[in-house]
Amino acid sequence: MVEGEIRELCETFFDAYQDRRVDILDRVLADDCIIWHNVFGRETTKHDNLSKFHDSYRGQRRRTYDDRIVDTFHDGFVIRYQLHGVQNTGHKGSLWICIVARVREGRITRIDEYMDSSKFGAWAGMDGGGT
C-alpha cells in the first residue's frame, strides 16, 4: 500500500468508529486482526471488539476523534489524537491516545493502543474531573 492509501484507511477507520459504523469497521479490519491495549497488556480479536462495540458506547451520547496527527511507514501508520466524549449526563471528557497500526492489502491487521487509564474516571465523569 502507498502512503495515500494508508492515510485513507486510517481516516476511514476512525470516521467509522466516530459514526458507529460497525459495517465499515468489519470491512477495514482484517479477519485475523489483533487489538492490543497497553492498559491490559492482552491481545483481543476482531470478533471480540466488534461484538462488544455497542456496549462500549453505553452511557455515551457522542465520541469524536479529534486533532488527528497521522504518520505512515511502509506497512502501517501511527496516529495521535484527542478522544472527546459526551456522556448521557452531559459530562464532557477527553483522553490523549496513540495508536500504532499494521496494514496489509487494504485492511488493518494489528492495532496497538496506548493511553493513560488514570484519566478514565475524569473521562466518564466519575471523579468530578473532565474538560
Partner: protein, 133 residues
C-alpha cells in the same frame, strides 16, 4: 527512505541507550535546540533541559531502568518506538509498563517527543501485576 530510515533508527537507539546508561550528555546530543517533550499524563510540554534534569532526578528513586522489546518504525520526519519500560527501584522492587514515543526529527536531531503510557502502572509492583493478569 533507506538512508533516512537507518539514520532515524540509529537516533532512536542512541537516545534510549543514553537514557538507560544515565548518559545525560548523550541525551543532549540527540536533541535539537528548543526541543520539547509532550506527555500524555500531564498534557503539557517541557523543554529538553527539563527532561534531562528529570532524568538526573530519577537516579535518586531508581536503581535501573531499561527500554526493552523496542519496536521501531520510521517515517520521513521521525520515528515511532514501542517498548516495555522496566524499572528497578532502590528497594529492589520492580515496575514495568508499556509505552510508545513518537519523535519528530529535523536535520538528524529530535525536535519533539510525544510520550504515551499508562501512569497507573507506576504504582503496581511487577509481581502483583503478574498475579492479577
Amino acid at each position: 527512505m533507506g538512508k533516512v530510515d537507518t539514520e532515524h533508527r540509529a537516533l532512536c537507539h542512541a537516545l534510549f541507550d543514553a537514557i538507560e546508561r544515565e548518559d545525560l550528555e548523550g541525551m543532549a546530543r540527540c536533541y535539537a535546540p528548543g526541543m520539547t517533550l509532550w506527555f500524555n499524563v500531564t498534557g503539557q510540554e517541557v523543554s529538553g533541559d527539563d527532561t534531562i534534569a528529570a532524568q538526573a532526578a530519577g537516579r535518586e528513586m531508581q536503581r535501573r531502568r531499561t527500554y526493552d522489546d523496542r519496536i521501531v518504525n520510521t517515517f520521513d520526519e521521525g520515528f515511532i518506538v514501542q517498548y516495555t519500560l522496566n524499572i528497578v527501584l532502590h528497594d529492589g522492587s520492580r515496575r514495568s509498563l508499556w509505552a510508545c514515543t513518537v519523535a519528530e526529527v529535523h536535520d538528524g536531531l529530535i525536535v519533539k517527543l510525544s510520550e504515551y503510557l499508562d501512569s497507573a502502572r507506576f504504582g503496581i509492583p511487577k509481581r502483583a501485576r503478574a498475579a492479577a493478569s
